[in-house]
Amino acid sequence: MIRVEQLSKTYGDVRAVREVSFAVERGELFGLIGPDGAGKTSLIRILTTLLRADSGTATVGGYDVVTDYRAIRNTVGYMPGRFSLYQDLSIEENLHFFATLFGTTVRENYAVIRPIYEQIEPFKKRRAGQLSGGMKQKLALCCALVHQPTVLFLDEPTTGVDVVSRKEFWDMLGLLKSQGMTILVSTPYMDEASLCDRIALIQEGKILSVDTPAAIPGQYRGILLAVRADEIYALLKDLRALPWLKSCYAFGESIHCTVGQPADAARLREALTGHSNLEVKEIPASIEDCFIQLMNP
């Protein structure tokens, strides 16, 4: 559905997108995962025909993003990063406006938006500016879906949103996927990676890795150990002093260290005997561990 080849985009001396290539299959939920400034927004804007790439090609639904931009605009749905609806129009008015803009009606495609729209319908007379963050998001999604797009682009839909709303939002995406929609979503939250079919890790305009969330940890080089003790900060300082550790950083309640061989776990325990309630165990790498490793090759 989406094919990207050697795409590059430069602003002044900032290389926002650097020779990016990947493909998204029909019906796939594809995640673009990386921090702010990684180039996610530029990439999505190129694919939604809002920006022109400096070099490389891309197609969406078989249409070229430069020459067939009009055809793409008819078939894709797009939800930008910021809340981009009319704050002074009501829910109903916004939805109706966007439906007409795409040459359709709300009724015609009601089936697509129904599961989401039903949640905000009781407030349909309320102005969008007065809605809560979660409700705004649902309305924005409805507006992006109202013309039954074949591909849906979502730029950081969950940024700044709390855990509960994030979970609800991903549930909605799962529902859309089950209806066969192709979805490309970007997010800075690594923990959302597991909810995608496939992900691309992106940093400083470059793709670090593209694979399924389950396969990416398999690419982790070395053995990952989770180390815990009562005095976490003191533990971190002691660990940093060990030159033979490949990496060492705080991760949730423990500290993650990368070592070269299984025997190193015992060596580590020995080095940290002074710490109370010390716990060292080997764990599988998470997406975030992989991301950190890929950032420091």
């Binding site: 921090p35 709303s165 949730g252």
Partner: protein, 246 residues
Amino acid sequence: MTPAIVCRNLTKQFGAFRAVDAISFDVQPGEIFGFLGANGAGKTTAMRMLCGLSYPTSGEATVAGYDVYREQEKIKRKIGYMSQKFSLYENLTVRENITFFGGIYGLSDKVLKEKREAMIGTLGLSNEAGKLVGSLPLGWKQKLAFSVAVLHDPAIVFLDEPTGGVDPITRRQFWDLIYAAADRGITVFVTTHYMDEAEYCDRISIMVDGRIEALDAPRLLKERYHAADMQDVFYQLARKAVRSDN
């Protein structure tokens, strides 16, 4: 030791709406205290009262030993504040920003100069000190903003979602700075949307609908709610919320 923050039934009412509903907690000196809650739970309102930016409707609170009703100006001198939205002046250089904020807190020229050069050294910004802050990557800006917020050695530093959108490595470097500050005895009061960061805190509180629903060390909370991680604890508590942000 007297607690850095004492809160007793602190309440803020906007008309019929009770944004913060009788919250009570203590924060110990040098503690890293995570202040979590869903959007609209009342975190920002509570934080504003503690920073001396707004008066509570009722209840009592002291920050660094000063009363939030009568001694707001003294509080402001004893705290540092950093938020994701307003951090530094983009069109001033790194050095000018540090000098400006140090000046606001009345540091003498000599002290300021020492601290400034030390900070630039610690952050590894020697080559960038003369550059405009606007030209720095987001992660560096955030680290610089934090360092500026603790420049005057406040008793407490309030951090409002300091790491939003920052890459995983920079985020950890940022937390190193937080740990170092806590090690120097600065109390850290921090809000975040990253649940793994909640684990870095000594204790966390979770606000739901204006009330504190849970307050404890992350490990104990996970045990109590039979949860694998903080994300799960938070989800169990916050999904009960009836209200959301406006």
